[in-house]
């Protein structure tokens, strides 16, 4: 194991960096897109609700690998050439955003409807009430499930390995076939994933305690 770290340090580091970068980008955008569709789902405007429903149901129910392959193969055919990292990050963002939308929506629905009603009666517009009163309370409720989504996201970033995204899993496969020491290699890879996910998990727990 030490040998793996010693001999393939730069490859592992590169993979670790790619996984971290992909995860951070996908986390930020899936949170934005997911929250947007969650808000769409709870608006009084039926058209937006329908759009959100379709988006969520489609992307939540297709395997991540299929979505990623779609971007990797189909987009270059019609629009522009994109590399594996980009395709994988887009796929991961869209896939995760559908789950985040469902999570945030359930948070919005668990806020007492009296909060929205009180704000509307007080003169606030629907959006003002949402932004200042309902959403801040909703996010407090959804920190634990959102944390699960983030951890899943980091682990799911291993989908990049299938589209030559040079992430941790991809480099693991390269190292395993080069060193022929598969067991040690995948243990190393596992440890490196834990280095990202464990602090995330503890941070979420900390937030949960602090805000509860």
């Amino acid at each position: 194991m030490i040998a793996i770290f010693h001999n393939y340090g730069s490859l592992l580091l590169q993979g670790f960096g790619q996984t971290l970068l992909c995860s951070v980008i996908a986390l930020i955008f899936s949170l934005i897109i997911g929250s947007m569709f969650a808000i769409f789902e709870t608006t009084p405007i039926k058209f937006l609700r329908v759009i959100a429903r379709i988006y969520i149901e489609v992307f939540r129910n297709i395997p991540l690998l299929v979505i990623t392959m779609f971007f990797f193969v189909v987009i270059p055919m019609f629009i522009a050439k994109i590399n594996g990292f980009t395709a994988g990050t887009i796929g991961l963002t869209i896939y995760t955003s559908a789950f985040i939308a469902e999570t945030v929506r359930s948070g919005i629905n668990s806020v007492d409807p009296g909060q929205m009603e009180g704000a509307r009666a007080n003169g606030l517009s629907w959006w003002q009430a949402m932004r200042h009163i309902v959403l801040p309370q909703a996010f407090r409720y959804v920190i634990p499930p959102l944390g699960n989504q983030f951890i899943n996201l980091v682990k799911n970033s291993s989908v990049l390995a299938f589209v030559a995204g040079f992430d941790l899993m991809y480099q693991g496969n390269v190292i395993a076939s080069d060193s022929l020491n598969t067991m040690s290699t995948y243990i190393c890879i596992g440890i490196l994933y834990l280095i990202i996910t464990l602090p995330l998990s503890y941070w979420m727990r900390y937030l949960e305690k602090k805000l509860a």
Partner: protein
């Protein structure tokens, strides 16, 4: 001058006829108490006035604007018509002071310094100035309701709607809330419509008492006629004798 006018208003929830031929005029500055058994439509009626419930037929004119008209801007109505709810509905994520300052800041664009001064004045008026930095959950129900009243007053509305403001409160808290409401009612410029069973409040400050049952207004009397004379409607008489003996 009339503040609120109902003309042949009908309201349905699916097949259920919630409001039946409502005709009612409330003048500016009047204090009107609305009573009736549960399910009689009194909460529905009060909630149509600020557009929390929409009417299906008839005309409902509030502060000169027709709420039945789809083009009417509800937010403009709500600037002028405040509401106090049974369960207070204070913003759980904001301090008491922020609860009061939020709507004037966002809706009226009131300058920050003036906003704070008015908010503190309102807190003073309901006797809770020392609670400004607390969160709503740290206050008792009676205190929360007085904050809710202060929050409505800070918008400087022309009318205030109260939807059973004391029915979720412990008995010893009720008087504090009623005293604040009486104080507002004595201010001759404020129009008040109050759904309540607090007959002491009605006797003391109401101009009129309206009795509703099954979505209809069955009795609309001056306070004197309602309490000292006899309501002409049989159900109103029965209802009155029940709540007064309690």
């Amino acid at each position: 001058m009339s503040m609120i006018e109902f003309h042949d208003v009908q309201k349905y929830y699916g097949d259920f006829h919630a409001l039946h031929d409502i005709n009612l005029t409330i003048d500016a500055g009047e204090t009107v108490v609305l009573i009736g058994p549960s399910g009689s439509g009194k909460s529905t009626l009060i909630r149509t006035i600020n557009g929390l419930e929409r009417i299906q037929e008839g005309k409902l004119i509030v502060n000169g604007q027709d709420l039945a008209d789809k083009k009417t801007d509800m937010n403009r109505i709500r600037k002028n018509v405040g509401m106090v709810f049974q369960h207070f509905n204070l913003y759980a994520n904001k301090t008491i002071l922020e609860n009061i300052m939020l709507a004037p800041r966002l809706v009226l664009k009131r300058p920050e310094e003036e906003n704070k001064k008015i908010a503190m004045d309102m807190l003073d008026r309901v006797g809770l100035a020392d609670q400004a930095p607390k969160m709503p959950s740290q206050l008792s129900g009676g205190q929360q309701q007085r904050i809710a009243i202060a929050r409505s007053l800070a918008m400087r509305p022309k009318a205030l709607l109260f939807d059973e403001p004391t029915s979720a409160l412990d008995p010893e808290m009720i008087d504090d809330v009623l005293n604040v409401m009486k104080d507002i009612a004595r201010d001759s410029s404020m129009t008040m419509l109050v759904v309540t069973h607090e007959m002491g409040f009605a006797r003391e400050v109401a101009n009129r008492v309206i009795f509703m049952a099954d979505g209809r207004i069955l009795e609309d009397d001056t306070k004197e006629k309602f309490f000292d004379g006899q309501p002409s409607n049989e159900r109103a008489r029965q209802f009155l004798s029940k709540i007064i003996t309690h």
